[in-house]
């Protein structure tokens, strides 16, 4: 009954797309309008915190290698840290805007973890390609939340931050078991299923 890894990736992809579109909406209308209804202020910080919590069972049940387990654990921690910091700021328990540095940290840790735990080259199989692409996307796009800490009203940085999650969701949706990438599939990757 345990879902295959790709199903988990697709469920998290949906979470990231929803998160991205909420952040995009907030960037468009501004913080004042977005936070006018209290439940909406907590919506996306709560969502990322929840996704961090749900990453723990993923870590526990998908133990095909130690490095995978460590990667899932690190994602769980940084997602909860970033979501928790944002919840604290929205609630007014935290005041220092530098708590938002948890976001670039989360991007860098997540990107590094996904790059480090992929042992194969870019064109080994689709999953390997996506690991490299997601990892570098997260590392490079860490510039958006980092810049947004110092320029919090910048529409460009906030939109970039939001769209990073949409792109991440799209890339996770592309993950499909053992499948070729651009016509390449290593003979050691296994039999393509779909």
């Amino acid at each position: 009954m345990e879902p295959a890894a790709e199903f988990v990736h697709w469920m998290f992809a949906t979470g990231f797309v929803l998160l991205g579109v909420c952040l995009l909406a907030q960037a468009v209308v501004g913080d004042e309008v977005w936070r006018r209804r209290p439940w909406r202020a907590y919506l996306w910080p709560g969502l990322i915190f929840l996704m961090g919590l749900l990453m723990w069972p993923v870590m526990v049940f998908y133990t095909n290698s130690t490095v995978h387990m460590l990667a899932h654990g690190s994602w769980a921690q940084v997602m909860m840290l970033a979501g928790g910091a944002e919840l604290g700021l929205v609630r007014g328990k935290l005041h220092n805007r530098y708590w938002r540095l948890a976001w670039p940290l989360a991007f860098l840790v997540s990107g590094s973890a996904i790059l480090i735990h992929e042992q194969n080259g870019w064109l080994f199989a689709r999953a390997a390609f996506l690991h490299h692409l997601i990892g570098w996307t997260m590392v490079v796009c860490a510039i958006f939340p980092l810049a947004a800490v110092f320029r919090p009203r910048s529409t460009v940085f906030r939109t970039g931050f939001a769209l990073t999650f949409v792109v991440l969701g799209v890339l996770l949706y592309c993950d499909r078991d053992v499948a070729p990438i651009f016509g390449h599939l290593s003979s050691q990757a296994g039999t393509p299923h779909r």
Binding site: F7, A13, T14, V29, E32, V33, R37, R40
Partner: protein, 90 residues
């Protein structure tokens, strides 16, 4: 036309554009899901459900994108647009 009227018109246009953007986000996601379903129909397991397991029938990416669009369009966007219009009237 006075410069005050010109700037007021520009502000109204900007506000309307923001409301339109928010209103378009959900339908755009739904449309993306529908287009994806046509481009890769084999990812909609419901079209060939025989012999498929639980997860293959429940987790279907194009349908998840459509569902995310529905959630945003019906649960989030209306309130945001309402609050945006309220802000504009002030």
């Amino acid at each position: 036309m006075s410069t005050q009227l010109v700037s007021e018109h520009a502000a109204v246009r900007r506000r309307t554009a923001r409301a339109l953007t928010i209103a378009a986000l959900g339908p755009a996601m739904m449309l993306a899901g529908v287009v994806w379903a046509f481009v890769q129909p084999y990812r909609i397991t419901l079209l060939h459900p025989h012999g498929q397991g639980f997860w293959w029938l429940v987790i279907e990416p194009p349908l998840l994108v459509i569902a995310a669009g529905v959630v945003f369009a019906f649960l989030v966007a209306p309130g945001v647009i309402e609050d945006l219009e309220e802000e504009n009237e002030r």
